[in-house]
């Protein structure tokens, strides 16, 4: 279980870290100053979650790796995030739809983690994160509604974003040996168990946004086992450049 647990926490931490890195790319490029601030806020929250989770993952692993060792000295094949969060930002519509799809999942996952009593350290991190992601979820849902029910152009654009991103959502609900072990240990229900509520909530948002829920059953997956899109390696090259150029330096 110890191995699986460390692996499981890495997945949570990498989801948060990779999405934070993507959102931080928006800095100075937002559609309005207020939204620049909001996206940085969300990125900061996610980065805080990532730091806590990676620190815990490193402790559980027991090899002396801290948050920075895990963030800066793993290759893309060793990252465990879902593909959805590593996709390039695209336009604001792509970013906000990705955020909504992820936030709705993150809330459910943190709710479950915060209420279990098997792993109290993880529960404490989840309880703090839950407050944050609930706010993120409200923010992204509100924007999806505004864009979907805004102008003709915004409706068209955001529907395209949704169609493009939808095939990446099924990966969130996949289970494997790691998630099954976590479920048996009582830390977290199976990912599949979140599907119904997630679908219900996302459909409600899309309906209010006057958007059509894609029918696609395509399944783009691989992140949890380290098979990523072409984009992640570039992201990491940028993120890791200083640590890799000056190994052993303190910053």
């Amino acid at each position: 279980m110890a191995d699986q647990e460390h692996e499981w926490i890495l997945r949570l931490g990498d989801d948060a870290l990779v999405l934070a890195q993507r959102l931080s790319e928006w800095c100075s490029h937002g559609p309005a100053l207020e939204e620049d601030i909001a996206l940085s806020n969300i990125a900061l929250d996610l980065l805080g979650q990532a730091r806590a989770l990676l620190t815990l993952a490193g402790q559980r692993e027991g090899l002396g790796r801290d948050e920075d060792a895990l963030a800066y000295f793993r290759t893309d094949r060793e990252f465990r995030n879902a593909l959805l969060v590593e996709l390039p930002n695209g336009d604001f519509g792509d970013t906000i739809v990705r955020q909504m799809l992820f936030d709705q999942f993150a809330v459910l996952r943190y709710e479950a983690l915060a209420s279990q009593t098997v792993d109290l350290e993880l529960a404490a991190i989840a309880a703090k994160a839950l407050k944050e992601v609930r706010y993120h979820a409200a923010h992204s849902a509100q924007w999806v509604v505004r864009l979907g029910d805004g102008t003709e152009e915004s409706h068209r654009r955001v529907q395209e974003s949704l169609n493009m991103l939808w095939p990446y959502t099924a990966e969130l609900f996949e289970d494997d040996a790691v998630s099954k072990a976590c479920n048996e240990a009582g830390v977290l229900p199976l990912n599949a168990s979140f599907t119904a509520r997630w679908t219900e909530q996302v459909r409600a948002i899309l309906e209010e946004a006057t958007l059509t829920c894609p029918e696609s059953t395509a399944l783009l997956t691989g992140g949890r086992s380290g098979r990523h899109t072409e984009h992640l390696s570039y992201m990491l090259a940028e993120m890791q450049v200083l640590q890799r150029t000056y190994p052993g330096a303190e910053w």
Partner: protein, 318 residues
């Protein structure tokens, strides 16, 4: 005596007795224009300043540094927001101000037209540029225009945190590996003189000074503030073990100040005129972000209008 003269006299007397002018108070046109120019330039500087620093967020060398830098750049966006709001109280809209920035009619601090070439530049900017900004801005907390003064109180609180984090980055690098110390020295070499230029032209050639002093928009001269900055910063450079790139720098026992070498004002004028290393990129980035965001702002406005309409028809139906 005309009514205008009467108002003017009362206005000047009011300011002379250290009272605050508020948005609804009568004020001379020139006072209003000067403030709009100054506050909007200040706001533009905050948001253009996000770019050179934002340049290193994705490459910050630890997650802690990344988080501090992201928070700092976010603060600068917040400063821009408070300042645009303060300027709006004078009867100009944010759109008008942004338009003036995008078309080059309105300026921003020239310092942000220099590139951030290394991580150490993030340290140097926090230490020197935020440090110089504090020198300039603390007196503005007592500016005669109330909304500006109050915005500056909030801004200054955060600026001192910015300066500390910058100094801490420099300290870390200076105590680090030889390559890191070299990186810190190189950043100081590149940012020192532009930081001194941030205080503006020498007093002898400064255009707006005298009236702004009387109106209590400005309380100290450019040269006074520059001297204070040098006096404060040189000992800090010594503490870091770095060399200030000025062969003429010398402690003057008689004056109790540091003497320093002549500033290259032709470089300053070049950068102000738009020929600095990054002028074009900074504005282009800003304009592109604004243009790419147009459909989003339009959608938000359309949605707000629809929602208001729905709410109204619900009330009238009820």
């Amino acid at each position: 005596m005309t009514q205008e003269m009467d108002l003017n006299q009362r206005f000047e007397a009011y300011i002379a007795s250290d009272q605050k002018i508020e948005a609804k108070d009568w004020m001379p046109d020139a006072y209003r224009k000067t403030l709009i120019r100054q506050i909007s330039q200040h706001a533009h500087s905050e948001i253009i300043g996000m770019q050179p620093e934002g340049n290193w967020i994705t490459r910050a060398p630890s997650l802690k540094r990344k988080s501090i830098l992201l928070a700092k750049v976010q603060d600068e966006a917040g400063h821009g927001l408070y300042l645009y709001s303060a300027a709006e109280t004078l009867g100009i809209s944010r759109d008008e101000m942004l338009n003036a920035l995008h078309t080059g009619k309105s300026k921003y601090s020239s310092i942000f037209n220099y590139p951030t070439l290394a991580w150490a530049d993030i340290g140097a900017i926090g230490w020197l540029v935020d440090g110089a900004a504090i020198m300039n801005q603390v007196p503005l907390c007592k500016c005669s225009y109330g909304p500006y003064a109050r915005a500056m109180v909030r801004v200054c609180k955060e600026e001192s945190f910015h300066q500390r984090q910058g100094f801490e980055i420099m300290l870390n690098l200076s105590n680090g590996k030889p390559e890191q110390k070299e990186m810190a020295q190189d950043a100081l070499n590149r940012w020192w003189w532009p930081s001194l230029m941030m205080f503006g032209p020498n007093d002898a050639s400064s255009k707006h000074s005298e009236q702004n002093m009387r109106w209590k928009i400005k309380r100290f001269s450019n040269d006074e503030l520059r001297q204070r900055f040098v006096d404060m910063t040189v000992p800090q450079a010594e503490l870091l073990g770095l060399t200030v790139p000025d062969p003429d720098l010398n402690w003057n026992e008689a004056t109790g100040h540091y003497d320093f070498g002549p500033i290259n004002w032709s470089e300053f004028e070049q950068v102000v005129a738009g020929n600095g290393p990054c002028n074009r990129e900074r504005i282009e980035t800003r304009v592109t972000a604004h243009e790419n965001g147009a459909w989003v702002r339009d959608a938000a406005a359309a949605y707000a209008a629809k929602s208001a309409e729905r709410a109204a028809s619900q009330t009238s139906a009820a």
